[in-house]
Amino acid sequence: MLNFSFFDYKTKKGLSIGVIHFVYNRYIMTDKLFTYSTFLEDKRFVQWRLSREEESDKYWLSFIKENPELEEEFNKAIRVCDKIRINEKIFADTDSLYQHILQSISTHRTNKQKRKHIIYYLSSAAAVALLLIIGTLYIVNKNTVSTLNEEIIGKTLPEEHVTLMAGGKIITLNQDAKVRLDDKQMSYTDSSNTTKSIEVDDVQINKLIVPNGKRSSIVLTDGSEIWINSGTELTFPSTFNKKTREIDVEGEIYINVAKSNEKPFIVHTRELSIKVYGTSFNVSAYKNDNEASVVLVSGSVEINTHNNSVRMLPNEMAKLKDGDLSKNTVDVSLYTSWVDGVFIFDGTPTSEVLKKVGRYYNISFDGATSLPDKKITGKLFLSENIDDVLSSISLLTSTEYKREENVIKLLKNERRNKPME
């Protein structure tokens, strides 16, 4: 049986000649062993696999239809050709090039920001924009006392890293790392600034440890967003159970809970548990604080201790101190501003200011208790640059600051008694 395939093409002389290509039947072809190599040695076959042109597609498909016994070798030849690579190269140092790009982006943005001088703060549920002005400090001298020269010594502590314990592994994360939980998968940016992801088991409990001096954020499977402040440990499951969504916090977080009418969200701290349905609030429950607090920005929560229960409304703060649960109305921005990189102080004692700043930058201030506790009111822009912050602190606390490597000295100035204005 003879099969015909027609090709039309122009010869150099311009004559149109039909080429009849005979494909022999099995009987004649057995003296030529037809294997995948036969195809691979055919330039037209290789050209076809590289260009995949329509006309060639038709030709080869009809060829194999007419010669089904060759199909196996044909397919093998195709598989081999699929492994051909053109200009496939891996370059060294693409990571450092990426860093260079990030650097340029960051410089570009700081330049933009410097021109604008404004930060926009958006409260997640209500979308209220508050304008904060950088670097303006209001100092109110309420208790000016004459003092001798006293020294406060601060020390930057050795750096620890944000650590994620998940999927049976311990992973070191980038500063300001974002973690994201999707179905059975957790993705994060690690210390080499590449984004990776790992598979997580439903039943596993995971931990995000943020040491002093660092911050982090995480998005849970239900879409709830959590900003984690320095010195905090967050324990969370890979997937929530059918009835509730529960996490454990030791430290400070700001959480934007995704709304769910069926599944309440419960935040557990050592002594409190906070039950929510869909809202935004700040929880501060540090191990070495003698009080824990919850500040509600929007929505509604229920606070439970082992012997007490309290319902909260927006702009309220609930405080647990020495076993007593109390509630009062507050300016929420004082407590949630850290999420945007600003500390707001309103009549805050110096020791408290130094404690917060110390935690944020991983500095321990010794001798801070020897200070008379001047009350401080003002806004502190939490710059990446420690020296900027320290000079602002010294301004606020009427001290002079000196930094030698990782030891910080705040030298108090002598002041005379000043009557209040």
């Binding site: 190599s37 330039k43 590289l50 053109i86």
Partner: protein
């Protein structure tokens, strides 16, 4: 071959996201090696290619809002990268403007991934591919590279090479035409040659 769907996915995430360094870094990692080798194929120094890549990704991130209409990251990235490269070249070659896109080279380096055939057969195949590509013009080679390795549509190739779609198609297939002049490599039988001549005779005289 491009993990096309992964690229499209991350591209959309990058465009939609507020400050999505994650999606951005994934796109970077998916394309950077191919872009750098693409640049080198034209004869640019690696340093120049890295500079162009830096400019490209910097621009993408900072001007993200202008990219919402771009659905296919592959063609956008390659086209944009190519433009950055030739802009750098224009700046450097202000003295010799005759070096146009038409005349620039396009080198190809063939590798064949580990497969089930012998080393000898692999080398043979590699030589066939190299010979094939050698017979083409630099533009034809570039078109085949973009089609085969980057899985670009003819429409996108046409835009990138600054020609109409039909020309792009012809560019890729012209390679085939240039081979048709050579005898078919299958069954180099004397019988075939005889029938060929017979058919030619029949066609000319009996107008088949």
């Amino acid at each position: 071959m491009k993990e096309k769907y992964a690229a499209d996915n991350f591209w959309q995430k990058f465009l939609d996201g507020q400050d999505d360094y994650e999606a951005f870094s994934r796109i970077y990692n998916l394309y950077i090696n191919d872009l750098l080798s693409y640049g080198i194929s034209f004869g640019f120094a690696e340093e120049t290619c890295r500079d162009a890549a830096h400019d490209l990704f910097f621009k993408i991130y900072t001007e993200k809002n202008r990219l919402s209409s771009v659905k296919n990251p592959t063609s956008y990235l390659f086209r944009s990268f190519r433009n950055h490269l030739f802009n750098i070249q224009k700046r450097q070659n202000r003295l010799s403007p005759d070096l146009t896109l038409e005349k620039s080279a396009f080198t190809t380096e063939i590798t064949i991934l580990d497969s089930m055939i012998s080393e000898e057969e692999t080398q043979k195949l590699k030589r066939i591919v190299e010979d094939l590509l050698k017979e083409l013009t630099p533009r034809q080679r570039e078109a085949i590279y973009l089609r085969y390795m980057q899985e670009m549509d003819y429409e996108d190739i046409a835009v990138l090479l600054d020609m109409n779609v039909n020309s792009a198609r012809r560019l890729v297939s012209r390679g085939i035409d240039s081979l048709r002049d050579k005898t078919l490599n299958m069954g180099n039988d004397s019988l075939t040659v005889l029938i060929f001549l017979l058919a030619a005779y029949i066609k000319e005289n009996l107008s088949l």
